[in-house]
């Protein structure tokens, strides 16, 4: 029974939950809202989800999922292809290391660590974009993006907490 195709399909479905939830949230947040203010306040939903799933269920959230999310972020922006992909991969690497110490941290603790991780990632993105375009980009944009991402964390993470309930408590076998 355990090796039957239904079981394999079930496991595949469970493993896909983090990626599917992230993609749905990302698409919701790039809907045209017809508001110039929203354009500036749009949080980096991909970063929040990649961080959350890597911290809480790192074994189920693959590097390849982060790669796909980064690729989508690149396509739905005018950043060079590969930049968000690289940053999402880096987020997974950093968060995997952080998870050794903070995996069982409270929601607030996770949020605090995220504010530090996000600051590093968004500042790195700002630097990389300046190097790529060879011109100065206002730091305000990076800070605004950082603030909105940090402030939206509780909302996005709560949706991920809800989605996490569909996953079994024990580790899903390979």
């Amino acid at each position: 029974m355990r090796n039957s195709w239904q079981e394999k399909l079930r496991l595949f479905g469970l493993r896909s939950i983090p990626l599917v939830v992230t993609l749905v949230l990302m698409f919701l947040f790039i809907m045209p809202i017809n508001s110039i203010e929203w354009g500036y306040l749009r949080p980096n939903v991909g970063l929040i989800c990649v961080y959350y799933w890597t911290l809480k269920r790192g074994y189920i959230f693959s590097y390849f999922s982060a790669f796909i999310i980064g690729l989508l972020l690149d396509v739905y922006s005018s950043s060079p292809l590969g930049m968000n992909t690289f940053l999402m991969m880096l987020t997974v690497v950093v968060t995997t290391w952080l998870a050794h110490y903070f995996q069982n941290s409270s929601f607030g603790g996770g949020w605090f660590i995220f504010t530090l991780t996000a600051l590093g990632i968004i500042l790195l993105k700002w630097l990389m974009l300046m190097i790529y375009f060879g011109r100065l980009i206002s730091l305000n944009e990076a800070l605004l993006n950082y603030l909105s991402t940090a402030l939206f964390y509780p909302l996005i993470a709560s949706i991920n907490v809800w989605a996490q309930k569909f996953l079994p408590q024990e580790r899903i076998s390979e």
């Binding site: 972020l73 590969g82 980009i137």
Partner: protein, 289 residues
């Protein structure tokens, strides 16, 4: 039993090693993408187009309920302004009727002068209307995704919102197109100040108002001056309105776009039949000087 344990440990180590190699490969791959994007490699362009083609239909589905909610809000907002709008429109209409008469006489005069000079007018432009289905995923970039259906749209074509330029087509993939707005950091358009014909480059910097750069220090530019395309480089025809000078602080000149980009639901993609559709705007910026 011991041999089995050793084997299991070795298999575990191998898995970790393979995982690390996989991560390193993905990181390398991302970095390679960045480098290839810098040199406009067609393979990277194709990857972007494929992702657009695959995710476009999902965006269309997601966009639909948001559009309905926005229309309901706009409807209520418009009703609340109906009296003021009506008064303003009546005043505007009186002005327009005066202008209409002037335009008619100028048109006749233009035709007569054109005949005298044996002038061949440019061909009429074709355009299509396209619905906006998604916006930029972050505030570092200013782009739009539009649904073009089966219409023939090419990279480089001009995108108008209402009656003024708001950007250009960057990528076309299947039934979708990516539009780089004039406010985006990638956007550089050769322009002239309509009143004084002073040349410059309208450069996006991811802010609400793009900057007018590469203008001569002696150029006569004042707040309120209308900025139109210069036609240099062959990508944009000359004379298309973009915006007007909004702020001047020394050499820092800010231009406010005529179209309210945040309120646009549909855009017009115009084909002027220009040959230089693959024109590099950065080159154009240099050539314009």
């Amino acid at each position: 039993m011991v041999r089995r344990s050793v084997l299991l440990i070795k298999t575990g180590e191998l898995k970790v090693l393979l995982r690390r190699i996989f991560v390193a490969l993905l990181l390398l791959c991302s970095f390679l993408f960045i480098l290839l994007s810098k040199v406009d490699n067609p393979a990277v362009e194709e990857i972007g187009k494929t992702v657009m083609r695959l995710t476009g239909p999902i965006m269309q589905i997601v966009e639909y309920p948001a559009r309905i909610a926005h229309r309901a809000y706009t409807y209520l907002y418009d009703i609340s302004r109906i009296y003021i709008d009506n008064r303003e429109l009546r005043a505007e209409n009186r002005q327009m009727l005066i202008l209409q008469n002037k335009v008619r006489s100028l048109e006749v005069e233009n035709q007569l002068l054109g005949r005298l000079l044996n002038y061949i007018p440019p061909a009429d432009a074709n355009f299509i209307s396209a619905k906006i289905i998604a916006e930029s995923s972050d505030n570092f970039t200013h782009i739009l995704f539009v649904y073009i259906g089966n219409e023939a749209v090419k990279k480089g074509q001009i995108v108008l919102g209402e009656e003024s330029v708001i950007g250009r087509v960057d990528k076309v993939s299947g039934q979708y197109a990516k539009v780089i707005l004039v406010t985006d950091i990638n956007s550089k358009i050769p322009v002239v100040v309509e009143r004084t014909r002073a040349r410059g480059i309208l450069s996006g910097d991811n802010k609400e108002m793009p900057s007018l750069i590469f203008t001569r220090s002696t150029a006569d530019i004042q707040e309120g001056d209308v900025i139109v395309t210069s036609g240099v480089g062959g990508m944009f025809p000359s004379g298309l309105p973009i915006g007007f000078v909004s702020q001047i602080h020394g050499s820092d000149i800010k231009v406010e776009t005529m179209a309210d980009i945040s309120r646009i639901e549909y855009v017009r993609i115009v084909d002027y039949g220009l040959s230089a559709t693959e024109y590099d705007t950065t080159e154009g910026a240099e050539n314009a000087q």
